[in-house]
Symmetry: C2
Subunit: 226 residues, 2 copies
DNA sequence: CTTGACAATATCGTATACTATTTGCAACGT
DNA sequence: ACGTTGCAAATAGTATACGATATTGTCAAG
């Protein structure tokens, strides 16, 4: 063919990595599902080599598991690991907030406030999770620690699935909103300790709700058939 | 070569990954150094494919940087990033300690105590860094959060180089020892808040010392010898 | 009808080979 | 003398090919 697919500057494995990552984080690729290299390769119109590189990166990130000579599967997060991740969130986000509060200026408060208003007016539960993330991130952003921010983003992205589960199923809008307002208020007053304490409680409550949600889900699957 | 013992079960990229990782963390491969795929491949007696996979994993881990069509280099940690990492350590280790204290039993205290004694008696500065790591880890281990522990280990490993620099150059034995004892004592009394507060100060002091050490080193314009 | 052995197939993992790009260097022109 | 252009060597990145291993299907024995 005369089609000269112009040589892209980036590696072919990058888009595959992004695509697989998005599919796993969104829950479209469910835990335990085998990831056939040939299939993924032909889907993207490449050979197995870039696919394998993408899978290796996902393995390092903990999203994929390689079994020797048996290929890769989507890594299944156990209940325990999800709760562990929330605990890590707790540590990282509280520290980020603590560092961020002294750096906050007026525009930070108004951005956060706008997100909360949009949050409140949003009817679609689908978007709550996204707005929730945006609110949290805009609080942490002034912390000045880029790597801390990216680690938080990584972990939150990873748990998007479970957060959505929780929000839709259990906690509704009221409780998180109240807590968000209280946290923002403490930030406004320039009280890091108070803001951090509120954030701690906020995340720990979330942890308990996720635990309950998982518990309920596994109970339901056990008593399935009634 | 002619050595064809048998087909190994694990991937060929795993040992390469381990070797490169160890070389980077130990400081033998210095930041900015280009990692030629052909060279590494022939050193290990394999083709470029497993080498590339190993490099991709190291890229995800942040130890290596790919420049499009120009190959990989050892990622250089800037002063800023090192200090950022210590801040993340602060968050993770304090949380781990907080979770661990209520779970500690007699044997945990005695193990920690033994390490401190060995620490004190150790003349070789080379091993201080290792003993320091072991002490910290044994305090966190009872926390019951495996992923938290592995993240801490990853970050500490990554900064081993700078810690060693600091220990040898700046802080000596006295100050850390005193703080270690105070922390252990708070753990013994079953006082998580106190232990965490002490740990915070301990790590923040370390952060300042590393900052000073880097400052001094860059002033002296380090010439690596080995 | 179940169970075990063996063949057929699918899939993984990597070496080889090839193309595209960057880089070093020399010849050339200003 | 200095910057520019063009060729040659080096290197990255990927497709193809192939051996090795796991999985599945088939058939005979119990």
């Amino acid at each position: 063919m005369a089609t000269r697919p112009r040589q892209q500057r980036a590696s072919l494995s990058d888009p595959i990595y992004e695509a697989l990552r998005a599919d796993i984080l969104s829950g479209r690729l469910v835990g335990g599902l085998p990831l056939r290299q040939d299939v993924i390769a032909s889907e993207h119109g490449v050979s197995k080599i870039p696919v394998r590189e993408a899978l290796r990166q996902l393995e390092t990130e903990g999203l994929v598991e390689f079994r020797p000579r048996r290929g890769a599967i989507v890594r299944q997060l156990t209940e325990r690991e999800v709760l562990e991740l929330i605990d890590i969130r707790l540590a990282l986000e509280c520290r980020a907030l603590e560092l961020a509060v002294p750096n906050m200026i007026e525009s930070d408060f108004s951005v956060a406030s706008d997100i909360l208003e949009e949050y409140e007016a949003e009817p679609s539960r689908e978007r709550w999770s996204d707005l929730n993330l945006r609110f949290h991130h805009c609080l942490y952003e002034p912390c000045g620690n880029l790597r801390l921010l990216s680690m938080i983003a990584e972990i939150e992205g990873r748990m998007g699935l479970f957060m959505r589960l929780k929000v839709t199923e259990a906690s509704g809008l009221e409780r998180p909103m109240r807590e968000h307002r209280a946290i923002l208020s403490a930030c406004r007053r320039g009280a890091p300790e108070e803001a951090v304490a509120l954030m701690r409680q906020h995340i720990q409550t979330t942890q308990k709700e996720v635990a309950a949600s998982i518990r309920r889900a596994s109970l339901r699957s056990v008593t399935e058939g009634s």
